[in-house]
């Protein structure tokens, strides 16, 4: 009997067996000392070498299959498997897992991307002196942003930082270039409406080195933006004014819905503003104790809420701080 036919009949017989005795008999018939399969295996040595290898392989496969079939049949006959029917469409067991706040998720993505470019993460105090928050950042003593209508004050000199930029100064005072840092954190401005919360999160970036250009700033920002929004997104720099950078720019990301063509979401512009950036003003480097004749740098600051709103399509800024868990659970 050739192996193929043997295989078919043997498996068929096993499956049809209706009692343990019958099964035992079948087992013996094929796998017993004088069983048919055993015989084949034993006679392998008589075969010519080129046939021996293949027949041996197939015979062994059949042996394993048959043993498995017999075992399964045995379990079935002895009542070990009762064939329980599972409702596979019923929900799985609920395994609890928490939700990370969307702000943290965006920050994590940015920080991860920043690490690839050598940016380390540093912190700074949220209650700052006016010097670090304004003076050191080349902000005139009469600048409107210092007004009590704009900034929260603890005392004449102490305030809730209005941006993460003071960390730039603190870090430059303590470290020598090359500098590449990210400073994420909470900042505060005296504003509360649909598009402003009195507290929000910023991510500051600072790079100071001997040779660094605005083109490098552009490349770095493109890298970060694509890390968060995807490789198909573009950035656009528009000239702007900040006291602490010169030249300064506002940076837009191309609209994800219309790819820059203009749609309702971007108000027809094709672009959405996401951050401010520029080359560090020489006075700021000086305030940080760094010689602007030898070094220059770039810096940027982005509002994380704004980025999260664009990425996830959140249309109300206040939702981030309402802490309605039905919101949080979507992330």
């Amino acid at each position: 009997m050739d192996l193929k036919r043997l295989s078919e009949t043997a498996i068929d017989e096993v499956r049809k067996a209706s009692s343990a005795e019958e099964l035992f008999r079948i087992e013996k018939k094929y796998l017993g000392k004088k069983g048919e399969l055993t015989k084949i295996l034993r006679s392998l040595s008589d075969l010519p070498a080129e046939k021996r290898k293949e027949t041996g392989k197939n015979a062994n496969i059949l042996k394993n299959t048959l043993e498995g079939e017999i075992k399964a049949k045995n379990e079935e006959l002895s009542g070990k498997t009762k064939g329980v029917v599972i409702d596979v469409t019923a929900p799985g067991k609920r395994i609890e897992y928490g939700h990370l706040h969307p702000i943290t998720q965006i920050l994590n993505e940015l920080i991860e991307a920043g690490k690839m470019l050598g940016f380390s993460v540093v912190d700074g105090p949220e209650i700052e002196t006016a010097w670090y928050n304004f003076d050191a950042l080349n902000t005139d003593e009469n600048h409107p942003s210092r007004d009590h209508t704009d900034t929260f004050y603890i005392s004449n000199d102490l305030l809730l930082r209005t941006h993460t930029s003071p960390v730039q100064i603190r870090y430059m005072q303590e470290n020598k270039p090359p500098i590449r840092i990210f400073a994420p954190g909470r900042v505060y401005r005296r504003d509360s409406d649909a598009t402003h919360t009195p507290m929000f999160n910023q991510l500051e970036g600072l790079l100071v080195d001997e040779e660094v250009t605005m083109s490098d700033l552009k490349g770095t920002l493109l890298y970060l933006v694509q890390a968060v929004f995807g490789e198909e997104r573009e950035i656009r720099l528009r000239p702007h004014h900040f006291p602490f950078t010169e030249p300064s720019a506002e940076v837009d990301v191309s609209c994800g819905l219309c790819s820059g063509k203009g749609c309702k979401s971007c108000k027809g512009e094709g672009w959405l503003e996401i951050l401010g950036a520029g080359m560090v003003h020489p006075n700021v480097l000086r305030a940080g104790g760094i010689d602007p004749k030898k070094y220059q740098g770039f810096a940027f600051g982005m509002g994380i809420e704004r980025i999260a709103m664009l990425k996830y399509g959140v249309d109300d800024l206040r939702a981030f701080y309402d802490n309605d868990l039905r919101f949080t659970e979507q992330f």
């Binding site: 609890e96 897992y97 928490g98 939700h99 990370l100 706040h101 470019l117 050598g118 380390s120 993460v121 540093v122 912190d123 949220e126 209650i127 009469n142 409107p144 007004d147 009590h148 209508t149 929260f152 004050y153 603890i154 005392s155 809730l160 090359p178 500098i179 590449r180 909470r186 005296r190 504003d191 509360s192 009195p198 790079l207 080195d209 040779e211 660094v212 250009t213 605005m214 083109s215 490098d216 552009k218 490349g219 770095t220 656009r236 720099l237 528009r238 000239p239 702007h240 004014h241 010169e246 030249p247 080359m279 020489p282 220059q296 802490n323 309605d324 868990l325 039905r326 949080t328 659970e329």
Partner: protein, 942 residues
């Protein structure tokens, strides 16, 4: 600022530029803007009131019939509340579908009377703040005409948002300059002509506070006739969003919009004697032209006549000197007021006007004389009259800003090489004067000019020099400060050898010292004053500028007599700027050496900022100008090429990240709450005096910086309890004391129903998991007060060794009630700065046991009051080497146990590293444990 395009086209060639191109181009060169194409009032038309009747059911309402033209629906019935409407008036009508603010006009019944549309007040159209009554349009308005057509003929408008440094762009001419530079277009010459002086009238002006008012020009125009402005002028104002009032007022507004110079017109008959510019006295009051009495402070600047205030300078005119229909003689004011003072006054009285906004952003000192001429031209054209001479009080130096631009810096900053020719072209197109700087060329311009000791720019310009002023002046052309006097220049330069001289180096002689100081000099302090620098006593009396090819140029008035080694005064005709061989200095017995001030004398541009650009001071400012006109979009995108600094380890951040990951796994969700809290919240912990208080909170909700996270989390629980049976949340954020901020982890658990254990085991379990996964050992939870918000007997403190690193427990009931939270809530706070000291220890591998371990569970009954801690302590002390671990599996109270008792199930792990234990050996260990625990009064539960 709204710029009507036809107005713009008067000052710059815009031919062929589409609106979109214009708007986009300006945006990319730094003028953010929105294009308002034509119909800025869709569905608004001119209507004529045909009939007015009282509303049958409402005293204050009227029912009007308004003709809005056939194509708009003919005569509409409109219910109106304004009292000022009369038959025959032409009014703005919002048709059905029009939007007034966010409100869409629909057919409606008002007190039972149908109304199909709305007549509008000024504020409803976004033209000013007047809500007194319906806006009445001029007679030339045509029934049915679209309102935007009436307001300036459907003129497209660019609404530009100006950054605070570019006050010069708050004007049509300013935007025209931007358009010219952005699109390489030609500016058109301002077309106005100077009006001849025909009146002898002139008003006296006394400026008492010169700092707050560096320039004041007043001009009398007599014989004017007040009336409405011509149509074209009204249309332009309306297109720019300014309401026409009368010819005189309209002209002042027109010139302000066109040139950026706020102007004011007084009724000359109401000004007595003279104009006085002074600060207000304490307690002084005046009524401004909006009929509000203003209380003034000495920070406010006033325009007065000999009796008292007639205007609040730069902000608003006074009622007493206002132009009226009977005015025949006006005084025009064009002045420069201090930006800070104006901002503060406008802010304090809560009225930031178009004028104050421009003063805030600084008005250049050269502007008033231009603006007043333009105003007089328009005024005499529209209101007639004869103009008198200007009274011009200029109390300040009109600063001319020179900046040096090194060509190579452009590439160093931007990362792209821009052609020198292109750079010069760009700066020139923005109004800068640009010259390729060359020391020889610049210095030779002055050869032959007279020497005057003590000459300086303010008094002598470039007409005469002394030696150090000559070199100072030449370097000032490239914005480089080298020192005012020879001593300062000698000290501030870098020494250079005679053999390596190059153009720009300065050579010094001891010279003749008469009155000059020898031990100090001055440098600018960057704030308009000077800083004194002391140095070693040195006599540096004369200098010369090296111009190359072995030649120097210097301003001299003494000559050295080599024979008697004395300086001899030259006759006046020879005291002048001269060019000589360098040896005159280098071989001079009193030669002190040469100094250098710049990296290279090559490829420097001497740039002079135009008078209107008060924001340009530095080389960087020029580079920004070049970049924005060149186009930021043309810059390449590259990554920084320098060496990457070594990563800084941030242990706190690593800890926070890891904690967050583990917390998610434990089922906790992250929340973010405000760092500031209300008085109610801070009172919970009685920390009112310990935390920073915000002087100017937005509301009572955020007056104090918080001292803990727990209370904020409790508020989150309160907010979510209706939607969730189970709340497990955390926040990682700072808490504050008067001295510092401190990073904490706050966790909160609120499960639907677990009244017995109050959720405590939940939170403790989560903490054990967290600390365990962070590989933090030797953690002990001890009975302790923890925090004041925790219930009595429900609070604990967490220790690592002797250090308290946090607390946990269950909120006290009264606090829960205060916050409206139902059911028990467990909470924990971990002090992360303390915890981080123990974080980051390497995990160490323990070999697995070679021989099998046995598990034995024992059940023992103890007094309920016995702390689990005691049982654990005792178990730890059990002296049996085969007891390799133990765990409290369960603590049970209740049925089957006597009152005051609890049953504790303990699992023992028994094994040896040497062999497989026999049953006897295992039992011996179990007995040993039972024995030890019986010392605590424990009995095996049978």
């Amino acid at each position: 600022m709204k710029i009507p395009l036809n107005w713009l086209a008067e000052y710059v060639d815009t031919k062929g530029l589409t609106l979109k191109k214009l708007s986009d181009g300006l945006r990319l060169s730094g003028t953010e803007n929105v294009l308002l194409e034509g119909s800025s009032f869709p569905n608004f038309v001119v209507g004529e009131i045909k009939n007015v009747e009282k509303h049958p059911d409402a005293d204050k309402l009227q029912v009007a019939k308004v003709d809005v033209g056939k194509k708009n629906g003919g005569v509409l019935q409109i219910v109106c509340g304004a009292p000022n409407i009369k038959v025959g008036q032409k009014v703005p009508v919002a048709l059905l579908g029009a939007k007034v603010g966010d409100f869409e006009i629909k057919k409606a019944k008002i007190r039972g009377v149908e109304s199909s549309g709305m007549m509008c007040a000024e504020d409803e159209l976004g033209l000013g703040e007047d809500h007194e009554g319906i806006m009445i349009l001029e007679d030339y308005a045509k029934v049915g005409q679209p309102l935007s057509e009436y307001f300036g003929g459907n003129e497209p408008v660019i609404d530009a948002e100006i950054t605070p440094n570019r006050g010069d762009c708050l004007s049509v001419t300013g935007i025209a300059r931007e358009v010219a530079a952005t699109f390489s277009r030609k500016l058109k010459k301002p077309k106005y002509k100077k009006v001849d002086i025909k009146s002898k009238k002139k008003i006296k002006v006394e400026v008492k506070d010169k700092e707050l008012c560096p320039r004041y020009i007043a001009k009398v125009v007599e014989g004017v006739k007040i009336g409405p402005s011509p149509k074209w002028l009204q249309e332009r104002l309306l297109a720019a969003g300014v309401r026409p009032i009368s010819n005189v007022v309209d002209v002042t507004n027109y010139v302000m919009l066109e040139w950026g110079q706020p102007l004011h017109a007084f009724d000359a008959r109401k000004i007595k004697e003279k104009i006085v510019v002074r600060r207000a006295k304490k307690g002084e009051k005046m009524v401004t032209l909006d009929s509000v009495e203003r209380k003034l402070t000495p920070d406010d600047l006033l325009i007065c006549d000999s009796r008292g205030p007639v205007a609040l300078a730069g902000v608003m005119g006074g009622e007493n000197s206002e132009i009226s229909n009977s005015t025949t003689e006006v005084i025009l004011e064009a002045a420069v007021f201090d930006s800070v003072a104006i901002r503060k006054t406008a802010q304090r009285i809560g009225n930031r006007t178009e004028a104050s906004n421009r003063f805030e952003k600084k008005v250049p000192l050269g502007l008033p004389e231009i603006a007043i001429e333009r105003a007089v031209e328009l005024l005499t054209e529209t209101a007639g009259g004869k103009a008198g001479e200007n009274t011009d009080v200029l109390s300040s130096w009109i600063w001319i800003q020179h900046v040096g631009l090194r060509i190579k810096r452009v590439e160093e900053v931007l990362g792209i090489e821009i052609d020198k020719k292109k750079i010069i072209e760009t700066l020139t197109s923005l109004g800068f004067l640009v010259e390729e700087f060359d020391f020889k060329k610049e210095a030779r311009k002055h050869v032959g000019k007279p020497y005057i000791w003590g000459a300086k720019f303010k008094t002598h310009g470039d007409m005469a020099f002394d030696c150090s002023y000559l070199t100072d002046y030449i370097y000032s052309q490239i914005g480089q400060f080298i020192g005012y006097v020879c001593l300062g220049q000698y000290e501030l330069g870098e020494p250079v050898k005679d053999t390596e001289l190059r153009p720009g180096d300065i050579l010094f002689l001891k010279g003749l010292i008469k009155d000059s100081p020898t031990d100090h000099y001055y440098i600018p302090d960057g704030e308009g004053g000077y800083e004194k620098i002391n140095c070693k006593k040195k006599e540096v009396g004369h200098n010369a500028l090296y111009i190359g090819d072995g030649r120097v140029i210097h301003a001299r008035h003494y000559e050295y007599d080599r024979k008697d080694r004395k300086w001899r005064k030259l006759p006046d005709r020879e005291a002048k700027v001269v060019e000589e061989n360098v040896e005159v200095f280098t071989k001079h017995p009193e030669y002190l050496g040469a100094r250098r001030y710049i990296e290279s004398p090559e490829n420097i541009l001497a740039v002079t900022a135009p008078w209107w650009r008060l924001d340009v001071r530095l080389e960087e400012d020029l580079i920004e100008e070049i970049a924005r006109i060149y186009g930021y979009d043309k810059l390449p995108t590259t990554l920084p090429s320098g060496l990457m600094p070594l990563p800084k380890e941030n242990k706190n951040l690593n800890l926070v990240c890891e904690l967050k990951t583990k917390l998610l796994g434990a089922g906790y969700s992250e929340v973010m709450t405000y760092s500031f809290v209300s008085e109610k919240e801070i009172k919970v912990t009685d920390d009112k005096d310990n935390v920073p208080k915000i002087e100017n909170p937005l509301s009572e909700e955020n007056e104090y910086m918080r001292s803990n996270l727990a209370v904020s989390l409790l508020s989150v629980a309160a907010k979510n309890q209706e939607n969730f049976d189970q709340i497990k949340i955390f926040e990682i954020a700072n808490v504050y004391s008067k001295k510092a901020q401190e990073l904490r982890l706050g966790m909160l658990v609120k499960m639907g129903n677990s009244p017995e254990t109050l959720n405590f085991p939940e939170i403790k379990g989560a903490l054990e998991l967290l600390l365990g996964r962070l590989n933090i050992r030797d953690v002990r939870v001890r009975v302790g007060a923890g925090a004041s918000y925790l219930g009595k007997g429900q609070a604990a403190e967490i220790f690592i060794g002797k250090e308290n690193i946090g607390h946990l427990g269950v909120f006290g009931e009264s606090i829960r009630d205060d916050f409206g939270v139902k059911g028990p809530v467990a909470v924990a706070e971990i002090y992360l700065e303390k915890l981080s000291k123990y974080y980051g220890k390497l995990k160490k591998y323990q070999p697995l046991p070679k021989y099998p371990c046995s598990l034995r569970d024992i059940n023992m009954v103890f007094a309920d009051s016995l702390l689990a801690e005691e049982i654990i302590k005792t178990l730890k002390k059990v002296n049996d080497r085969n007891l390799s671990d133990f765990k409290i599996l369960d603590i049970y109270r209740g049925k089957g146990l006597p009152e005051g008792k609890k049953s504790v199930t303990i699992r023992l792990v028994i094994g040896s590293s040497e062999k497989t234990l026999t049953e006897e050996e295992i039992n011996a260990t179990v007995d040993e444990v039972i024995q030890s625990l019986s010392s605590l009064g424990g009995k095996i539960r049978s």
